[in-house]
Every structure is written in structure tokens, then in C-alpha cells.
């Protein structure tokens, strides 16, 4: 009669398999990003690269929003606000920090040079800041549910936009030394947006962060923690009754989701070379991300990725119908809710669909 501990031990996968599981994806991710950067990037040319970059950033945004809207079943409509916070933080690091370090506000260093590492650091700084704000916004989820919480996130996004328009003008490179360092974060451009930012974003960094986000989201979903999130999504009261500390877990989901949105903000703004005007980061942008999550499947990582890819390419292909883009999106959203409310893939991953069908077929035999 084996004890429970022994049985658990026998079920644990072998050390070599575990090592492969943990190192494999990382090797794969680095391989993929290098391939994209050195082979695919030059092959598809400038405009193709731009689409690939947009696609990657959208994937990060959509997958990170999926952690809250999909896994946890909460409804955040303020994702663009987190993106703005992360982007502005990253912008401050690369613009002012870059000047302090290298004496210029232009990009410095080649591939993986000093400037690039500063950029990666700035994205992480953006993630930390916006993760902190995500934590703050998640706190009200202690008392608020469903549409009320949605409203708080919406209000948060709007407040961020308005406060950013109140900031001071960007200090040109020649004048940075004259301004005390602690005042610099205030000078982020006000209503006209933060520019000129150094163009650091490239395929390598974007897809490295895409891989990190996707891996994080997928591992989260399959982990204990993720199961707790899914149980909150299914029935909050039942989850609480079975001993899940609902509030801290929800708050953490918000923080993680916001952190990755912050990364996306950093990537996006260094791609444009300027932060868009705060007004362009309102709920319209949040809605665009929500559409990706809803169409792809709330809770499905691969479904969201697919939706993000399709919704990035589609407007490029159908450029002459750009007037109708949002009309079609809106109709798709409404029809989706009527016909297939869980989204294209629901909570399942793409590769799980076939398995499910096989299982069903076996069961009916």
C-alpha cells in the first residue's frame, strides 16, 4: 500500500522531461526571435516588418488582457490606460535616461548594443509601474463585481489620459542638463504626445516579449494559480467556498495583466518614435483589444493570438474598406455574442479541439 507521497512521486515526470519542459520553450523562443529578426525581417521588407511588429504588439496586448477578461472572468475596459502608463515610463527611461547615460536622445548601439539593453530595461520598468497601477485598480475588485468593476477600469483609463495631457512639454536634448532630474518625468509632452523617442523597437525584442507573454499566460493557465483564476471565472461564490482566496488572486491577475500591457506600451511607443497623444489611448484602443480577446476566445491563449494576427492583417489587406473597419468589428462582436458567446475557441487551445472531439467519439462508442 503506497502512501500518498509515494504515489505523487511516481506520477511526477522524470527529471529529464522536466528539464526539457522548462528549458525547451526558452530555447525555442530565442531561436524563433533570432530567425524572425535575421531571416524573416529582411525577407519581407520594410512594410512587412511593420505589420509583423504591430502583430507582435497586439499579441502581447490581447494575451495580457485575456488574463483578466478571459481567465478570471472579470471585465477590464482600461487596458489602454495600462499601456499608456507603461509606454510613458519606458519613454522616460529611454529618452531622459538615454541622455544621462549616453549623452544623446537618439538610438545608440547596434543590435544588442547598450541602447538596446536600455530599451529592454525600459520596457521592464514600464511593466513594473503599470503592474503597480494594475494592483491598485484590482483592489476595488474586493467590493465590486462585473460591470461595476468594468466601469472602474474604464474610469481609470480615462483619468490616466486626462492626467497625461496635463504634463509639461518635452525638454529638448540641449536643455536636459538644466532641468533637475526629479522633474524630468513631468515633462512628457502633454496633449501633443511624447516625441521624439528613439526608434528601438525591432523584431527581436517584440517577439522575445511575445514569447515571454505567451509562455507566461499559458503556464499560468495550466498552473494551480490559473485553475484558481478559472474557478473564479466559473463561479466566484463556489470558488470562495472551496477555499480560494478570491480577492488576492483577482488582484494579482490584474497586476500581471497590467504589467504585460505596460511592456506592450513600451514596445509600441518606441516603434512609432513618439508616444501618441494621450487622447488616442482612451477606451477606443481598449475596445480594439477587447475585440481580439472576445473573438479569439475568452480564456484561450492560442485563440487570442490567432485573433490578434487576423485582426492586424485584415485591415492592411482591406485597406480600401477602412471606413467600414470598425462597423464590421462591432457587428462581429454582436453576432459573436449571439451565435458563439464564448468566442471562436472558447476556453480551449487550438490543439485541444481535435482531442476533445476524439474524446467525445470514444465516449459515444
Amino acid at each position: 500500500m503506497a502512501t500518498l507521497a509515494e504515489r505523487a512521486k511516481s506520477l511526477r515526470p522524470s527529471a529529464s522531461k522536466m528539464a526539457l519542459d522548462s528549458v525547451g520553450p526558452v530555447v525555442l523562443a530565442i531561436g524563433l526571435t533570432l530567425l524572425l529578426h535575421f531571416v524573416v525581417g529582411p525577407a519581407v521588407g520594410h512594410s512587412g516588418t511593420k505589420i509583423l511588429l504591430d502583430m507582435g504588439i497586439n499579441i502581447v496586448l490581447a494575451v495580457s488582457l485575456n488574463m483578466v477578461n478571459g481567465f478570471t472572468g472579470q471585465f477590464s475596459i482600461g487596458h489602454a490606460g495600462f499601456m499608456a502608463i507603461g509606454g510613458y515610463t519606458a519613454g522616460i527611461v529611454t529618452y531622459y535616461g538615454g541622455y544621462k547615460l549616453f549623452g544623446t536622445t537618439n538610438p545608440t548601439g547596434g543590435f544588442l548594443g547598450a541602447g538596446q539593453w536600455l530599451f529592454a530595461l525600459s520596457c521592464i520598468a514600464g511593466a513594473v509601474t503599470s503592474g503597480f497601477f494594475g494592483y491598485l485598480v484590482g483592489l476595488p475588485s474586493l467590493r465590486l463585481k462585473g460591470d461595476y468593476l468594468a466601469l472602474v477600469t474604464l474610469g481609470f483609463g480615462e483619468i490616466v489620459c486626462v492626467l497625461l495631457t496635463q504634463s509639461g512639454a518635452v525638454v529638448p536634448a540641449s536643455g536636459i542638463d538644466a532641468v533637475p532630474a526629479w522633474q524630468l518625468p513631468y515633462h512628457v509632452g502633454g496633449a501633443v504626445g511624447f516625441s521624439p523617442l528613439p526608434f528601438y523597437t525591432n523584431l527581436f525584442w517584440v517577439y522575445l516579449f511575445v514569447c515571454i507573454t505567451v509562455l507566461f499566460a499559458y503556464r499560468l493557465k495550466e498552473s494551480n494559480h490559473g485553475r484558481a483564476l478559472l474557478s473564479i471565472r466559473e463561479d466566484e461564490i463556489a470558488a470562495e467556498a472551496s477555499g480560494i482566496a478570491v480577492t488576492p488572486i483577482k488582484v494579482r491577475a490584474f497586476a500581471f495583466s497590467a504589467a504585460f500591457a505596460g511592456v506592450a506600451g513600451g514596445l509600441y511607443f518606441h516603434l512609432l518614435g513618439a508616444l501618441p497623444k494621450p487622447g488616442e489611448l482612451g477606451f477606443q484602443k481598449s475596445f480594439e483589444i477587447i475585440i481580439m480577446v472576445v473573438l479569439g476566445g475568452m480564456g484561450s491563449v492560442s485563440g487570442t493570438i490567432l485573433a490578434a494576427i487576423v485582426l492586424t492583417i485584415l485591415p492592411e489587406v482591406l485597406r480600401e474598406f477602412s471606413d467600414y473597419r470598425m462597423v464590421v468589428y462591432a457587428l462581429a462582436l454582436v453576432l459573436m455574442m449571439l451565435v458563439r458567446p464564448q468566442g471562436l475557441f472558447g476556453i480551449r487551445e487550438i490543439w485541444e479541439l481535435g482531442r476533445e472531439r476524439r474524446k467525445k467519439a470514444r465516449g459515444s462508442r
Binding site: 475596459i77 466601469l151 474610469g155 486626462v162 471606413d323 470598425m326 462591432a330 462582436l333
Partner: protein, 306 residues
């Protein structure tokens, strides 16, 4: 002192608009328990319908007759009421038993659709338009620097009349009793022989008509009507929702009080602190109310049941 009185007048006028829109939110929430995000777009369409109808009736040029504004107001209300009916029928009714999150997403979808459809070149176009001067821009009286304009007076009067009518509809008629019954307990109301679907339809029509009235008044006030997808429409609508939450969502009188209160806070904050941060005051108020007294000023505390 002059500033204070002027601000109070402006605040009450703005607050009456919020109250009119908030009523639609609160009525729908009271019955169906979801935020009708498309409501702010009905409000926007109310303004655009007013412009278009006034243009069609040939009042865009010259001096329209004094009663013209009543015709346009009623026509816009009828058009938006019909639209509200159609939206409820096509988008919300099939989801009656769906999870709330799905209805919320649908509402967002409808909202995006109305905005962007209205922006198409063949519909209303994407440039701002000028509202025909149905209400002349004159000051009724101006004492010690305080200006009471005709527009503000009409805004307040129309809002009070409509709210009085709604109060009568809800508390004085058989239909109103049915509405309150459905809001109190939908299933029991259905068992008592109330046609729930019909009551919900009527709620949407009435709410949308009130939003259209607010849209007309707003257009008359600001004259230059923004393009349909402009952020300001949604923002105004959202502020009105905040008003509904402050007053206690689902509570009709609460929406009226919340609307006026919010208008006053916004105008006072704008006059004495900083006018650029008006959105911030409103949403800060929302977050505070939600955290401290989520049921709102007049709302009832609800106990969540499994």
C-alpha cells in the same frame, strides 16, 4: 459671488442633461441588470437626428418659428425611441438568459456599431456639423454679471417636464406599476400575468426617447455638433452613467438627484479648481462612491445569493 451663482446655474443645466441620460441607464439597469453602453450613443444620435430633421424641415437657414424646437425635439425622441426598440429586439432580447458579461460585450458592440455606422460618409459623415439655431442665443436676464440664457432655461424646463412625466408614468400608471414589478422580480412578475418582454421594450423606448431629448438639448447648447464617433459623446454618456450610480442605480429619483449633483460638482470643480480636470472629478467621484457606498445615495443594499 457672481461666479458662484453663474456656476450654479450652469451646473444645474448640465446636471439636468445628465439626469435625462442617467434615467435611461438606470431604468434599463433596474430591469435587466446590465450597463447599456449603447445608451450614450443613442444620446449622440438624438443630437444628430435633431440636426438632420431640422435640416429636412428647412429650418437650417433663416429664422425658424418659435415652436420649431418642440417639433424637432419630439421627432428626435420618436426616432430614438424606435431605435431603442430595434436594438433591444435584435441585440439584447436573444441574450435574456445569457451571462451578464456577454450582454455587456454586446452592449459595447452595439455602441461601437452606432458610433462608426453614424460616421460613415453616407450617413452623418465624420465632420462636425452646425445645429440650426432653433433656440435663439439670447440672455433672458443679466443681473450683476450673472447671465441666464434662454438655452439654459429651456434645458432645465424641458428636463423638469420630462422627468415629471416619467415620474407620473412610473408611479401613477398601471404600466409603471408593471415596470416596477418587473424590476423588483422578473419571474414573479411574469407569473402575475405581466408581459415582461413588452415592459422591457417600453422601458427601452422611454429611456432612449429621454436620451434623445438630452441629445437635442446638448446640440442646442453647444451648436457645433461633434462627429458621431467623437470621444466627447461617449464621455458625456459615461458621466451620466456615473450620475446614475451616484444616485443609486435602478432608482429613478436617485438618477435625477445624482445627475444634478454631478453637474454641480463638475461645474464647481471646473470653476474653482481646474477646468481641464473635469473628467477626473467625475471618475474620482465614481470610484469613491463605488468604494464607500456602492448602492448609491438612494439605492438599496442587495444581498448576493447563490
Amino acid at each position: 459671488m457672481t461666479t458662484l451663482v453663474q456656476t450654479l446655474i450652469d451646473g444645474v443645466a448640465l446636471g439636468s442633461l445628465y439626469a435625462l441620460i442617467a434615467l435611461g441607464y438606470t431604468m434599463v439597469y433596474g430591469i435587466l441588470r446590465f450597463i447599456n453602453f449603447a445608451h450614450s450613443d443613442i444620446f449622440m444620435l438624438g443630437a444628430w437626428f435633431s440636426c438632420t430633421i431640422a435640416g429636412l424641415l428647412g429650418w437650417a437657414v433663416g429664422t425658424p418659428p418659435t415652436w420649431a424646437f418642440i417639433v424637432v425635439l419630439l421627432a428626435a425622441m420618436a426616432a430614438c425611441g424606435l431605435l431603442g426598440f430595434i436594438i433591444e429586439r435584435l441585440a439584447y432580447r436573444p441574450l435574456r438568459s445569457a451571462p451578464r458579461i456577454n450582454v455587456l460585450i454586446t452592449a459595447i458592440g452595439v455602441s461601437l456599431f452606432l458610433e462608426n455606422f453614424g460616421q460613415l460618409p453616407k450617413i452623418f459623415g465624420n465632420t462636425p456639423t452646425k445645429m440650426p439655431a432653433l433656440i435663439p442665443d439670447i440672455a433672458l436676464g443679466s443681473f450683476a454679471g450673472v447671465r441666464l440664457s434662454l438655452v439654459n432655461l429651456i434645458v432645465i424646463v424641458v428636463a423638469v417636464v420630462l422627468m415629471g412625466a416619467l415620474e407620473w408614468l412610473i408611479y401613477g400608471t398601471k404600466l409603471g406599476r408593471a415596470m416596477r414589478a418587473v424590476s423588483y422580480d422578473t419571474k414573479t412578475a411574469a407569473l402575475m400575468g405581466i408581459d415582461v418582454d413588452r415592459v422591457i421594450s417600453i422601458t427601452f423606448v422611454v429611456g432612449s426617447a429621454l436620451a434623445a431629448a438630452a441629445g437635442f438639448l446638448q446640440a442646442a447648447k453647444i451648436v457645433a455638433v461633434q462627429q458621431p464617433a467623437h470621444v466627447s459623446w461617449v464621455q458625456l454618456g459615461l458621466k451620466a452613467f456615473v450620475a446614475a450610480v451616484i444616485g443609486g442605480i435602478g432608482n429613478v429619483r436617485g438618477a435625477m438627484i445624482g445627475g444634478v449633483l454631478l453637474g454641480l460638482v463638475e461645474m464647481l470643480g471646473g470653476a474653482y479648481l481646474s477646468s481641464e480636470l473635469r473628467v477626473v472629478y467625475v471618475f474620482t467621484m465614481l470610484i469613491l462612491v463605488l468604494l464607500l457606498k456602492p448602492e448609491g445615495l438612494l439605492g438599496k443594499t442587495t444581498v448576493e445569493k447563490v
